[in-house]
Amino acid sequence: MCSLRGSIRPFLLLQFFSLLLLVANMEASEEIISSTADHTKFEALQRTFQSGPEVTKACLECHTEAARQIHKTTHWNWKFTHPDTGEELGKRTIVNNFCGAIETNYARCTSCHVGYGWKDNSFDFASEANVDCLVCHDTTGTYKKFPTGAGHPPYVDKPFPPKSKKIWKAPDLTHVAQKVGKTSRATCGACHFYGGGGDGVKHGDLDSSMTNPNKALDIHMGTDGLDFVCSTCHQKDGHDVSGSRYTTQAKDTHGIDVPGRDDNIRATCESCHDLKPHPVTVNNKLNDHVNKVACTTCHIPTYARGGKPTKTWWDWSTAGRMNNDGKHIKTKDAQGYVNYVTKKGSFEWGENLVPEYAWLSGNIRYKQLDEMIDPGNVVAINTFEGSYDDPKARIWPFKVMQGKQPYDKGNNTLVTTHLFGKDSDAYWKSFDWNRAIKAAMEAGNAPYSGNYGFIETTYHWPLAHMVAPKEEALGCDACHAKEGRLSKLTGFYMPGRDNYYWVDLIGWLAVLGTLGGISIHGLGRIFMKAKRR
């Protein structure tokens, strides 16, 4: 027995070590990728590409349905038919209070379109080759659409702004195509962080600081924490990404999403955190608040927290000023933020901003181009339903973008403006609002009286990102106080904020009266007792 054992042992040891060596060798030589396909090995991608559409055609050889899936999405159509109101919304028709509208400005605006070549109304939305796969699936960080290229990247190195020294490099399309992968904060952010014409301009809760945030900035996306990417929550089915501002889900009553439930949209907090997200303490008020207060209201205490400012005011009425030499003006404020440029007018910016709060039930309505506006008041670009009495509504935090923009003084409507272009009607060429409005309105078959003015507008953006660590969530007194964050909301009684003047008056008078009565009674007794002696 003993001798037999002795002979087997060295053999086993040898085998064990050779196995170890093999494993170590494997790890050293090959990095395991989670995808089952290595795109560098695909022959269709081992060639030079002259343009984006050529790459797309190569992609479609294997991913046969991808382009047709994209064709159905808002990312492609920039059109959203509201399921309840039937309104035609989306970037194609909405007039905002940033750069206005895309009509006649396509080549500039569509640098953020998931396609190639949308430079005018003749764009072929049925073209599969015009779908831009790379803008979402690039992993190299080198694929960048040219700002005025109607969705194309530069195919040769060229400067932007034109004639400047900043060179926009042409990407190596072969390299980018061979390195495609999942979407990332960087790919989504390439457009969504720069909406409105620059970093952080539009949303307030989305800017380039969210490309690689720490968890203090965003508890979900922090690279030192959960490291979520956008699609972790904004899940997609056949390229259709969930989460829409046009039908914001103000209250998700389904709770945690598991297969088999009827709600597959993971873009709500409740999808993962359920309807009673807080540990039950002495008072269960935090969980009780879920029915009236959106998670984001307490958990996004301030926005634009990542060191990048967001634009809060944009006044187009001051645009067009030149200096004495007839040159464009650009000025900066004390913090170094640009507060005037000739082409765009005056701006204000802010960081670490306290949101505004309002009841939201989900349906956000947009002021359409053919709708009458009241020039005597500030015009709300978007309005939404919701009140304390509406069981579907909750209090939401918003960034409110304010500004002044041109409108049709004769017809009392908003207007579109032709800003960008090489023709002399373009505002950025002639600085003539009348021509710019006329050109844009004619192109969109909208009436224009020929008489314009400027009107102040507001635009509400619900906040859902830059979710702070729980330690920084708002405490009760942020709202339950006389001058708290919800001091402007009406239609309901809130402890700590509200009281009834008469109730308090009667109450305190009664207390004072009691004390006075006791005092008089007591003094009277002392006096009478002394007198009796």
Binding site: C476, D498, V503, V511
Partner: protein, 200 residues
């Protein structure tokens, strides 16, 4: 002379713990109401809620004690004449040094006005506060029992008025307890040790 124990150990415990809880709830309650800042809203809510549940527990104990011992009879209203005599005493007699119209016995330890005051406190003011307070606490569940039509502001008003009533009760109670006896300590000691101070 043998001592009469007017207040059992339980009653004394009940009285003082209730007194502490009520004062604590007034302090936290008026902070929640927004009258001042002391502990912070959340702390105030937490303490107010904890104290409310303890007080409810205490009351259930007291209810059990009063029914089983029969001591609830101490709070049955007296005849109107004797109550009127007490009123007359507090309004006139007490100033003139008139004798107290009520003669205390173990089975009748409270004077007719006292009986009435405590009855009102326990049967009117306290229920108003309990009911409105519990409604307040379970506010999010109103819709599930078909009460979504009830305005929270109304519940708040009722609860606040109840709190003011208690706030008025305390000084009257202290004034009468501490100044109408032989000495200020007399009633205080009685509520601490249970019996009247021994006559020297």
């Amino acid at each position: 002379m043998s001592q009469i124990y007017y207040y059992s150990l339980f009653e004394r415990f009940w009285h003082w713990s209730q007194a502490l809880l009520i004062i604590g709830m007034l302090i936290t309650g008026f902070e929640i109401h927004g009258t001042y800042h002391l502990l912070g809203f959340e702390q105030a809510i937490d303490l107010h809620t904890i104290m409310a549940w303890i007080l409810i527990g205490l009351w259930l104990l007291a209810l059990f004690w009063h029914t089983t011992t029969g001591e609830w009879r101490q709070y049955v209203p007296s005849d109107p004449d004797s109550m009127l005599a007490m009123v007359r005493y507090y309004v006139i007699g007490i100033f003139l040094g008139a004798p107290h119209p009520f003669h205390r016995k173990r089975a009748e330890k409270h004077n007719p006005l006292q009986r009435m005051a405590y009855l009102m406190l326990t049967m009117v003011i306290a229920p108003i506060i309990w009911i409105s307070g519990l409604l307040y606490l379970f506010y999010p569940y109103w819709p599930s029992v078909g009460m979504e039509g009830l305005p929270l502001g109304l519940v708040a008003v009722v609860h606040t008025l109840g709190a003011f009533a208690i706030l008025c009760f305390i000084p009257i109670h202290l004034y009468l307890a501490l100044t109408t006896g032989e000495s200020p300590q007399e009633k205080l000691m009685e509520m601490i040790v249970g019996h009247e101070a021994k006559n020297g």
